[in-house]
Symmetry: C2
Subunit: 142 residues, 2 copies
C-alpha cells in the first residue's frame, strides 16, 4: 500500500481499487447538486472517463464495462471529477443528458426516502418518484 | 434475494447489505449540496441512524461501529435519508456540525480534482483544499 500521507496530501493520483478491482463513484447533477446514482469503476472505466470526459462504469451485476448512455443515449458529461482523502471514492459532477439517470425511468436513483425516528420495520416514502421516461421504450425490454 | 420489482418500486425498506454486511452511504451537505464523504453502514449503524437522526457508520479499517463526531464533536444531523433503486446505497443529506467532516481537517473529503482529458499519469489539483480545523488538536494524534 502506498504511504498514507502521500495518498491524502499528495498530488499523485493513485486510486485505491478494492479487492474486487473497483472504486465507488458518486454521481451528482452539476446544476441541482442532487445525487443521481452510485456506481463503480474499474481501472479501464476510470481511464476512459478521464480521457473522454464522459462517464464509463463497471457493472458488477453484468460483469462488464459500460458507457453510461450506451443503450439509452443518456450520456453523462463530466463537469468535474474529484477524489476523496484516501483515494478509494470518486465524485463526478455531471451534466446528465436526456431525461434521467436511473434505469427505472427516473431522473435520480434516489427516489424514496427513509423516514427517521422509527423503530422496527420501516416504510419508505416516494420523493421525486415520478418517472421522466419509459424504461421499456428506452431500453427495449421490461 | 428479494423480488427485484419489490425492491425497486415497493415501499418496504429492504437494504441489500453486501457480502461484507455493508451498504454504501453518500453524505452531502444539506445546504451546499457538496459531497462531504462516502462511508459504509452495517445493519446496526443504519438502525441507530434511523432511530436517532444522527449518522452512525461502520469503519472498514478499524472494524468497528462509530458515531460520526464521537471523537471530534463534528456530529452529522440527518436532514433526509434516501435509498437508491436497488437498495444497496444510501444518501444522507446532513447538517454537518463543526468545521468539517474529513479526518484530514477539511470540510469535505473531496478536496482534490482529477483533471480531465489527460492520458497516462495524472496530477491532482487542490480544490477547496484549505484546512478548516487542525486534526491533531481535534483527534489528539497525528
Amino acid at each position: 500500500m502506498a504511504d498514507q500521507s502521500a495518498i491524502e496530501e499528495g498530488l499523485s493520483f493513485a486510486p485505491q481499487f478494492g479487492a474486487d478491482g473497483l472504486v465507488t463513484a458518486v454521481v451528482t447533477d452539476a446544476k441541482s447538486g442532487d445525487v443521481l446514482m452510485v456506481a463503480h469503476m474499474n481501472e479501464d472505466a476510470l481511464r476512459r472517463t478521464i480521457e473522454s470526459g464522459e462517464a464509463w462504469y463497471y457493472s458488477r451485476s453484468r460483469k462488464k464495462l459500460w458507457k453510461k448512455g450506451e443503450s439509452s443515449g443518456h450520456v453523462q458529461r463530466v463537469v468535474e471529477l474529484r477524489v476523496d482523502c484516501d483515494q478509494d471514492a470518486l465524485w463526478l459532477k455531471v451534466e446528465q443528458l436526456g431525461p434521467g439517470a436511473c434505469h427505472t425511468g427516473r431522473r435520480s436513483c434516489f427516489y424514496r426516502a427513509v423516514p427517521l425516528g422509527q423503530k422496527g420495520a420501516v416504510t419508505l416514502e416516494f420523493r421525486d418518484g415520478d418517472k421522466t421516461f419509459d424504461p421499456k421504450a428506452v431500453y427495449g425490454k421490461s
